[in-house]
Symmetry: C2
Subunit: 357 residues, 2 copies
């Protein structure tokens, strides 16, 4: 980032901000960024395309001297990988800790004060060991102001098969679905696989199997292609998603009664509302695609993203590029250099367009 | 065993035999024994009661000088725990490696030559590292002759709830059910939990959930209380058990078709026939119970035992004692000192009775 002449700032949890101050420093910045952490045994494009792509987009903009850019920020966050270890704290990637904090989540601050990893090490102690002297009260300093950004755009692989299948190089995201995640615990009695007669069994494995199938059933019954579910339930329609969660809860209760197992926990881990892209950002993305003669598709994101949280404090939009067979969160994840180049050009031109508004 | 004046022999895989030669050394021996290995995170009575109980029974017999015992053998096997690590090779406990080998299983000899643990270490190499110089061709030496024993009796906790529930101190086993175990592998495509639309998913987790529930369904449909199933299917009726396995196979094929996942493996791991206790051993056990004024119940064993394999080379019988709530294969496993003492007296008197026949 220093090669690009950006001024660099790191916040209390290791988020890194590079700011390129344009001709009108007092204007709200146009921001971009993504994450570099992912789930274990994952791929190398999820998030990373939007981080390296952001740096490349800034470089593109700096080489175009036709315009004096009024204002521009690039921001990048690393902490899961760099400080705390991938997935050591489940919310780092799964719950989008960094962007959720930036967006001012007081609940997350509270939970970070309490939460420990598998070895009973707290988040604050883990950060401390990694050289980050976080005082729990400093976590509020990660919050960004509501007017910090004029707009936020994220470049990302689609993580689904649609663009590749339809042969379209660019997806312009109009809405981001959000997952509702639940933690369910059944308790029964273990016993000998042969000696306990069938009527005397209260097998939590089978209770869990039934519940997994019930999740699928309730998701399919929603009647919408936009409802998906497995370890969590996602939808762009918040009410429809939460209805599914309620049905899953009812199923869990029924299963526990029928099988004589105890439903010892049914806890909603997170239930974030979906987010809509801002019309101004969508317009800028469409402008950019047309300028670049790139075919594009207006689409929703079924995966959720840091942009979901950035939308709480800024007008937001996302640019998708195709990825091989829609694979993500596994090593086969892949995006071609051509598609990444298209995405970077889209990002650069969208930022330019927004900077000039 | 040396304190008891037994002559001790150890075979190529670490089975330990203590022989007490009576007044008529040429007679076939009355044998007893059990195992000390078990599954991980298990209890301390499964098997061990029959090993320490056997030593105690010999001690009881030696203290009773009224009779000159014609012949008596105690045998004990340790290898899973002592040489190879509990469950390092799945067949050590789950497939009753030691007794299966003693009973002359040529299939097991072949499979031991090939099989490796999770770290790709072969059984022979693992035994070698533990100080047992096993040449694969020596495994045949573990086989016992068909006429080695006049009878074999095993004392064991019931591993089920019946004796405790009915307040009966002794179970006399008339038949041992045997499990049929299958290995099933589905293959599908991983993908993003949010981004892959429901119709495009081929989720092997849900295929496995459906199959687990299908096992339960087919077991219940057998209509017999003696049919049980979970990770394996067990029954005293071999045909009824194998019918369930066939139905499970058909379900696996159906599930793979409907869900678009590949059924890449459906392999029968073992499918041993059940075994009947020998009438002569049952008679001796009933005689002993009456002599000791212990109420007893004729029952079948739904758990399977080393005795299942000993029955291939010897008349066989088993003595059950109650255990707490029928718990087994978990730390809560427990048998009371009184029940164990009854079991040891039963074992001693049954051996005495058989020795005098």
């Amino acid at each position: 980032m220093k090669q690009l002449g950006l001024s660099v700032r790191e916040d209390a949890v290791g988020n890194i901000f590079g700011r390129w101050v344009g001709s009108e420093a007092e204007l709200g910045a146009v921001a971009t960024g993504s994450h570099v952490d992912a789930i274990p045994f994952s791929g190398k494009y999820d998030g990373v395309v939007g981080v390296l792509g952001a740096l490349e987009a800034i470089s593109v903009l700096q080489r175009k001297t036709l315009l004096a850019w009024p204002a521009c920020v690039i921001q990048v966050w690393f902490p899961a990988k760099k400080i705390l270890g991938v997935c050591r704290f489940s919310y780092v990637h799964s719950l989008k800790m960094c962007s959720r904090l930036m967006a001012g989540s007081k609940e997350l601050v509270q939970s970070l004060k309490r939460t420990v990893d598998n070895h009973n090490v707290s988040f604050v102690d883990a950060a401390d060991s990694a050289g980050y002297k976080i005082h729990p009260d400093d976590l509020h300093n990660v919050f960004l102001n509501q007017d910090a950004y004029f707009a936020f755009i994220e470049l990302h692989i689609e993580q689904g098969p649609i663009l590749e299948k339809e042969g379209i190089p660019i997806g312009i995201v109009t809405a981001i679905a959000a997952p509702a995640s639940i933690k369910v615990e059944f308790e029964g009695n273990g016993g000998h696989a042969g000696a306990v007669l069938m009527p005397a069994r209260n097998d939590v494995g089978l209770a869990a199997a039934e519940l997994a199938l019930a999740v699928e059933k309730h998701v399919l019954e929603s009647g919408s292609i936009d409802t998906v579910g497995t370890v969590d339930v996602r939808d762009v329609d918040e009410k429809r998603r939460n209805d599914v969660i309620e049905k899953v809860h009812k199923s869990a209760i029924d299963i526990s009664k029928i099988r004589g197992v105890e439903l010892s926990e049914f806890k909603i881990i997170n239930q974030d509302p979906p987010a809509l892209s801002d019309k101004s950002v969508i317009n800028a993305m469409e402008f950019a695609a047309k300028q670049l003669s790139l075919e594009y598709k207006l689409m929703i994101s079924r995966a959720y993203h840091d942009s979901l949280f950035m939308a709480r404090i800024s007008p937001m939009g996302m640019i998708f590029i195709p990825c091989y067979k829609g694979y993500s969160h596994k090593p086969e994840e892949y995006a071609s250099p051509e598609d990444m180049a298209n995405g970077v050009q889209m990002l650069a031109l969208t930022m330019a367009k927004l900077s000039l508004e």
